[in-house]
């Protein structure tokens, strides 16, 4: 009797324990799913390494910007334009000629610079409390329109360099090389088939079709 009871208790403990443990784990992942997707972190652990993380600054400023003589230091300032002379009477495009037109947000959706870069004083993107600082830009800026934007999503290059220009090999090598590869494929395919088809059409233009030939 005792033996049967002990055996059955043992078996019950053995098989019921498994789903209990699994249920707890399941509840945990369910609860943290959205946060993980957004941050790449589960509690304090980085769960998807190699992805854009809001806790790390991935866009180390490398290019020298023309910021009224302050160089790239200005991107770390609370007021990036503090040193620009006659600032009040200028438009963004007056100085940022290229950046004003190298993004589809502006050219196609008519989004103004200030809708992302904020109101005066415009903080440099690397200033710690700037809404465009990579540690929070996905939540503070991108998510205003792209609901659910993650740190990785915010790595989309809004100010896209022209993919065929030589400078892009430095600033965005993947875009440069992949685009050039596609252009090369297109070029060789047309270099072959355009003259081929043109010659063919010319040849047929001067060839009468043979009729009634068996």
């Amino acid at each position: 009797m005792h033996r049967a009871l002990i055996t059955s208790l043992f078996l019950v403990g053995l098989f019921l324990a498994v789903p209990c443990a699994a249920q707890e784990e399941l509840a945990g992942t369910e609860r943290y799913k959205l946060r993980e997707a957004s941050t790449g972190y589960y509690e304090e652990y980085e769960v998807i390494p190699g992805r854009g993380s809001p806790f790390k600054q991935w866009n180390t400023p490398s290019a020298t910007l023309n910021t009224g003589g302050k160089g790239k230091v200005a991107t770390y300032q609370a007021d990036a334009h503090a040193q620009v002379s006659n600032y009040r009477h200028q438009r963004c495009e007056s100085c940022h000629k290229e950046t004003a037109h190298n993004n589809r947000h502006a050219t196609r959706r008519n989004i103004a610079c200030r809708q992302c870069h904020g109101t005066e004083p415009i903080a440099g993107v690397n200033y710690y409390f700037s809404p465009l600082n990579p540690i929070r830009r996905h939540a503070y800026v991108c998510a205003k329109c792209h609901q659910g934007a993650s740190g990785s999503f915010a790595m989309y290059v809004v100010h896209e360099p022209s993919p065929l220009l030589a400078g892009t090999a430095e600033s965005f090598p993947a875009l440069y090389w992949v685009t050039w590869m596609m252009v090369a494929i297109a070029f060789f395919s047309f270099a072959l088939f355009l003259p081929h088809t043109g010659l063919w059409m010319l040849r047929e233009l001067f060839t009468r079709k043979k009729r009634g030939d068996k």
């Binding site: 997707a37 992805r51 854009g52 037109h101 190298n102 050219t107 196609r108 792209h146 659910g148 934007a149 993650s150 990785s152 999503f153 915010a154 790595m155 989309y156 290059v157 896209e160 022209s162 993919p163 965005f172 993947a174 875009l175 992949v178 685009t179 596609m182 252009v183 494929i185 297109a186 395919s189 047309f190 088939f193 355009l194 081929h196 088809t197 010659l199 063919w200 059409m201 010319l202 040849r203 047929e204 233009l205 060839t207 079709k209 043979k210 009729r211 009634g212 030939d213 068996k214």
Partner: protein, 266 residues
């Protein structure tokens, strides 16, 4: 007398692919040129910039569905019966030879004796196959950018967009210039090759252009079952209207695209 080159299933695949490709070409070009008046005019019937994207996405999914159906169809055909190597679409050494002898013919030499498929037709098939994979993959990435950024870094969307664009331009130029020139505009096919639509291919011009195929059909006694009478005048008019409509649309897209290319912030 007409000679059957394609089965009704193959013709249906081609018609659906043609229709969806044209919709994708118009909506895609409209979005690419939305900064110009021409682009906005193109986008207007589809509901502007946003409407174009919606149409483009759904038709894109349909094309991928069509591609999957085609793969299943090809697998079924290959598994169910033995296919003569000259009825298949694999590129062979013979195709390279025919390409060069065709080039020699263009400068006055003897015309090569083509089989059922010319090398340019095989190239067209594999070009669409490759294009489907490239455009399908990048298109799916751009279909749901937020979801994509969960698996790839956000900047891969920049790359995907440019790959999608260039491959689409390549596909459109190839179809609207080269495919149309060969199938419609060259003298022996003018105004259009009906092999893919109703009426099939003309027996006489096939025996001139593809004598090796005709010889094979004769020796295997398959010629009788492959020949049919010409279709009615009404179906022929519809065929010409559809085919030449596609040519007009395609060429106007190419001309408009080239004329407006300078007005876009690339």
């Amino acid at each position: 007398m007409r000679l059957k080159r394609f089965t009704p299933v193959q013709k249906a695949f081609h018609a659906l692919l043609m229709l969806s490709f044209l919709v994708q070409a118009v909506t895609g070009t409209a979005r690419m040129y939305i900064e110009t008046n021409w682009g906005r005019t193109l986008a207007h019937p589809f509901g502007g910039y946003e409407g174009c994207l919606t149409v483009h996405k759904y038709v894109g999914l349909f094309m991928l569905f069509l591609f999957v159906c085609h793969l299943a169809y090809v697998l079924f055909i290959v598994m169910s019966k033995k296919i003569h190597s000259d009825d298949g679409l694999w590129l062979q050494k013979k195709d390279l030879k025919e390409f060069f002898s065709h080039l020699r013919w263009m400068f006055g030499g003897e015309a090569p004796r083509f089989e059922r498929w010319g090398y340019w037709e095989k190239f067209d098939y594999w070009a669409v196959f490759w294009g489907m994979i490239i455009l399908g993959t990048t298109g799916l990435m751009l279909y749901a950018p937020l979801e994509t950024s969960r698996y790839f870094k956000g900047w891969s969307l920049n790359v995907a967009l440019w790959v999608h664009r260039i491959e689409a331009c390549l596909a459109m130029l190839h179809i609207f210039v080269i495919h149309f020139a060969i199938a419609h505009l060259r003298r022996h096919n003018f105004p259009m090759d009906r092999a893919m639509f109703c009426g099939d291919t003309d027996l006489e011009s096939a025996s001139e252009e593809r004598p090796a195929w005709l010889a094979r059909l004769r020796t295997n006694n398959e010629l009788r079952e492959k020949t049919i009478d010409d279709v009615s005048a009404i179906r022929m008019v519809v065929t010409y209207a559809v085919g030449l409509g596609a040519v007009a649309l395609g060429i106007s897209l190419v001309v408009g695209g080239l004329m407006n290319a300078g007005l876009v912030n690339w």
